[in-house]
């Protein structure tokens, strides 16, 4: 069933239809929220806030337009709002010599360190760039759709994706050999 049909059913009070929409977009919403908030618990709270806000405002959704960008815009707003309100929690620091301390046969440890470092590189990007890269390179949305989510011009999205990628590629460069090894 199409998103618009599910949204119409959910608006009429169909819990199953709403549940299907949540299942369909849970991963995207959580990833986007995590890219904004960093912390997993906060990301889940923000993603949930976004889904509930979307449910309350389903009457405003235009079924002629794609549901994903509409929903993710609400989730992004919920996450940004939570980020502004909360006292920024200190994230676990990955010291430059982390790998030398933890290097070894434990691939999982390295994987976690890699993930942490990439998230830190992501966290250093301006919020809009961060969302643009995640929505484009991870979620596969078009520049036009991302422009809707972020409420900016398409050209701005292209520029954000470019600059965001460039910064992340630098972070990836340091792990290039390791990534090829564990593949």
């Amino acid at each position: 069933m199409q998103d618009a049909e599910l949204a119409a059913l959910a608006l009429a009070g169909d819990r199953e239809a709403f549940g299907t929409l949540v299942e369909r977009y849970a991963a995207q919403a959580r990833r986007l929220a995590r890219s904004i908030l960093g912390n997993e618990d906060d990301a889940d709270d923000a993603a949930q806030d976004g889904f509930l806000a979307a449910l309350r405002h389903l009457g405003r959704y235009d079924p002629a337009r794609p549901f994903g960008p509409w929903l993710l815009r609400i989730v992004a707003n919920a996450a940004s709002d939570r980020r502004r309100r909360r006292k920024v929690r200190a994230t676990e620091e990955v010291t430059p010599d982390f790998r030398s301390k933890h290097a070894g046969p434990d691939v999982q440890t390295d994987r976690e360190a890699f993930g942490q470092q990439l998230r830190e590189a992501l966290a250093e990007l301006p919020e809009r760039q961060r969302m643009a890269v995640v929505l484009f390179d991870v979620e596969g949305y078009s520049h036009r759709e991302i422009a809707e989510v972020l409420d900016v011009q398409e050209g701005t999205v292209r520029s954000d994706v470019f600059h965001g990628r460039r910064a992340l590629r630098k972070a990836l460069e340091a792990w290039k050999d390791w990534r090829e090894e564990v593949r």
């Binding site: 849970a26 889940d44 309350r56 890699f114 990439l118 995640v134 390179d137 992340l168």
Partner: protein
């Protein structure tokens, strides 16, 4: 791989790395949690359908007030009744009902002292 601002394709390497680092466990639990949290929203009397009505309320009230005003005006014109409370000329209207001298004269009994003083020539 080189990227440019005009690149229309997602970067698979960056995408895969980000997907891996942003992945979160417990998706099933999350879905259940959201569904449970949504239950009161479905039950709210001012739930999603109310927000639709709410968004219609203001223009609806304005339109209803405009229609009511137009209907009143139309009814008044059709019945040909003069507009109430005409302030055209109250003196003329009163003069139609009683003679002007009578209307100008004091309707109350004169004060005895004033009458005596007038008679005494004061």
């Amino acid at each position: 791989m080189t990227t440019s601002p005009f690149d229309h394709n997602p970067d698979p390497e960056v995408g895969e790395a980000l997907r891996e680092s942003l992945a979160m466990r417990g998706e099933g639990a999350f879905v259940r949690r959201v569904r449970a949290a949504a239950e009161p929203v479905f039950g709210e009397p001012n739930g999603q359908w109310w927000s639709v009505l709410g968004s219609w309320a203001r223009p609806g009230l304005v339109a209803a007030a405009g229609l009511a005003a137009a209907a009143l005006l139309w009814t008044g014109l059709r019945q040909g009744t003069p507009l109430p409370g005409s302030l055209a000329n109250p003196i003329v209207e009163l003069a139609d009902e009683m003679p002007v001298p009578l209307w100008l004269a004091d309707q109350t009994a004169p004060d005895v002292d004033v009458v005596l003083a007038s008679a005494s020539g004061f």
